[in-house]
Symmetry: C2
């Protein structure tokens, strides 16, 4: 076997245009030993764990715009102050708030039984006594779209999906359409309500909630996600052929405009003209779990890394840690931040909002003059098992509006292999977090900050991806 | 390494009293080739899967004594008749029925948040508007027992545990006492209510329900199980030191005497004097999941195996398949069966009620004259990865009362390694079952029935273990 592989390699080397252009593999960029030292030291501390444990225990769920999110801001200010950050403050804004009510689903015929589901954010409500109707089952969005309106009108629409597990999380965008736009489309076609198979990769009886959008003029109908086993149960029942009657009770409500806010903390740099290095995640969470992976992890990882840099001495660039509010329900915090800080010079922006599994890849969107920064990042991150991706960086709901203004981006991508097992479910609790993987995240962000905040190169504006 | 092992074996052989008595290892008993053939053919059919899929889809949960369990009996009679069994019938009995109501738990102070829990069977009720009280936290039963009564009186008692994962399931008996007797003891000591850490080995937000017992004269107090993550959350909060106030709403009720029943089917044998080979599991389930592993699996495995024997020709002994009612809530079905059939001669009894993971061990309680039967079982089961245990067989709630009358026993033990991850939770659905492991079970039970139902030896009464 070894001989065959060698033969294949030789053949490939002779014919590969990539290898043919190179006489020798590229040599790694040289990195300041302090970066290496900071990175490795970060693998030994549990600041991030302490933040996650504290927030998820002492606050728990913190749905955007509620008094729970307000308590989370109070907690955050105290925590960031205790950690030693400067300029700790809340920047408030107002936003519309939706709150969950009762939620039950019951098959009345042909096989009476209860199903587990959760309303989607912005779902309309059934009467308090419930809504009873016939279920029309579609395997996926394509089948729903292909069906005639008269198959949908007045019915409870079900839309399935076959979301695959992927490391880069690309399944979410591709298979999430049933949640993102399914309810509005079903409403426009006259459906009484819509239930979807959760946008998730697990097989546990946890529904995955998440926001849906009813554009102006489209009536919000009751909209909910069944857990994956319940969705497959409904599909099995439908396969028997008899009409399915279901009683739905969903009583969420829009409670009007409320206050939310971003919590900001800084490590002031020695060279204000060099631009701000913006890092963060979101403080709010969905209301079913305690938001450990989404996104106590992200705020904890970024703050823990910034603290490592702060404790090692003043960096060249100011590091700004932002714990954004109201990400889950529409990115209001990120939008408010960009509005308030559009006049400031940001060098880079980076967001951690994909759980707490290991960082496996980094991607950047840097101006040409800052190419050596990416090369040094590659050297600094490689020992943590992190590869350099070939795509253009610049991902994140919260930093999105700031990136659109031309800010350079550095993405540290976490593995999404297991992320959608837990995402937006009641099971998003600290039990899902592996402390060793969490430390690897902090080490990666520490190395990134050590390289970027102290880079002598100018990091000017870029064209957003 | 190989040399070291050989040396160790030699030393052991010289000193081991067991090996010293034997001049050669025992030769395997010879088994009829038809047994081998039936066993291997059973690995290729999905009768058991079809039964589980049908029952859990077309009936779903089937709490003992409810109309759902009645529907399950109707379904069972139709299914067993379709499969070709003879003498298919229901043997009814009456029993007290408890039904779940609303169930919520909310920490009011110091850190307001909801916890996930489920009432235990026979739990008392709080007022419909709830019960608010201070929580007193005990790490385990020993700490609860060591505490003075004044620490308990008027409070909501919490009892934790550290149940370990074991293959033989022995953790359940050892760590389950907080559920089995904790509520009655807490009531006797004046507690307002009791919440326990679920008797389970998982870390998901599913509470594990199960029956508790309030003996006559002991007032049933509200009693519920928190999911393991919620229990650990409560313990983390308690570790902060501030008093914990909780609001509990639990509104289950005793609804009085109702009808339940055992469903019975037979493969008539050619020699009625040889005694009945009794196999089965329980038809009822807890009300949170669809009872796939507990115990649609058991009824499916035993019936599928009996059908393999039936289809191969008439066995010597009658095989009686019993799908017992009301196991979960107190073993009423098994008791009713023993009362009704005490006058009949049973050769052996075997129960499958430990999920659908692979059978890893068998143990017997057979009379001395039937020792060759166990030896042949050992030969027949070994190719399925099943070892012969050194303990005395005779386990099972449903067959227990029949075993007490002196019936010989053959236990096929499933691995319990993962069983208590799912046991009595909403997650007990067909998604938890591995079809390949399920087929191994059916093959094991087919081999067992092929050996035992056709054994020429007499299988007389034994002393119960």
């Amino acid at each position: 076997m070894k001989r065959l592989i060698l033969a294949a390699l030789t053949a490939s080397a002779l014919t590969s245009p990539v290898l043919a252009q190179r006489t020798a593999p590229p040599m790694p960029a040289i990195v300041d030993p302090q970066v290496t030292q900071l990175r490795d030291a970060a693998l030994k501390v549990d600041t991030a764990w302490d933040i996650i444990e504290g927030l998820t225990t002492e606050v728990g769920q913190r749905l955007a715009g509620t008094e729970a999110e307000a308590r989370a801001r109070t907690w955050a200010v105290a925590k960031l102050t205790t950690l030693g950050f400067k300029n700790v403050r809340v920047e408030p804004y107002r936003m519309p708030v939706w709150e969950r009510g009762a939620e039950t689903a019951e098959i009345i015929a042909p096989f009476p039984q209860k199903l587990t589901l959760a309303a989607l954010g912005n779902s309309g409500a059934t009467p308090a006594t419930g809504l009873t109707g016939e279920v029309v089952v579609f395997a996926n969005m394509a089948a729903f779209q292909a069906a005639p309106d008269n198959a949908i009108k007045g019915r409870i629409v079900y839309i399935g999906n076959a979301m695959p597990r992927t490391q880069d999380g690309s399944g979410y965008g591709a298979y999430g359409t049933a949640r993102f736009v399914g309810p509005a489309l079903a409403s426009q076609r006259g459906a009484a309500a819509i239930i979807i198979r959760s946008i998730g990769t697990d097989h546990h009886r946890f529904p995955h909630t998440g926001t849906t959008d009813f554009p102006a003029g489209v009536k919000p109908i009751p909209a909910a996600a069944l857990s994956v086993p319940d969705a497959e149960q409904l599909e099995r029942i439908a396969a028997r052929g008899a009409p399915i009657r279901m009683k739905l009770v969903l009583t969420p409500r829009q409670v009007g405009m409320r206050e939310s806010g971003n919590v900001i903390a800084e490590v002031p740099g020695s060279d204000p003209s060099a631009g701000i290095v913006l890092v963060g995640g979101h403080l709010d969470s969905w209301d079913l779990g305690t938001g450990a992976i989404d996104d106590a992890s992200g705020i904890a990882i970024t703050a823990a890394a910034a603290k490592r840099i702060m404790d090692a001495g003043q960096p060249r660039r100011t590091i700004r840690v932002v714990w954004f509010g109201a990400e889950e329900v529409g990115g209001m915090g990120g939008a408010a931040y960009a509005r308030a800080h559009a006049g400031e010079r940001h060098a880079t922006a980076s967001e951690s909002d994909f759980g707490a599994d290991r960082v496996w890849r980094f991607e950047v969107n840097l101006p040409p003059a800052a190419k050596p920064v990416a090369d040094r990042l590659q050297t600094a991150l490689a020992p943590l098992g992190i590869t350099r991706g070939s795509g253009l960086g610049g991902d994140g709901t919260d930093i999105g509006p700031t990136l659109k203004l031309g800010t350079a981006a550095i993405d540290l991508n976490q593995s999404g292999w297991d992320y959608f097992d837990t995402h937006h479910t009641p099971d998003d609790v600290i039990d899902r977090i592996d402390p060793a993987a969490l430390r690897q995240n902090v080490a990666a962000w520490t190395a990134m900050l050590a390289v970027v905040a102290n880079a002598p190169e100018a990091i000017d504006a870029v064209k957003p991806r």
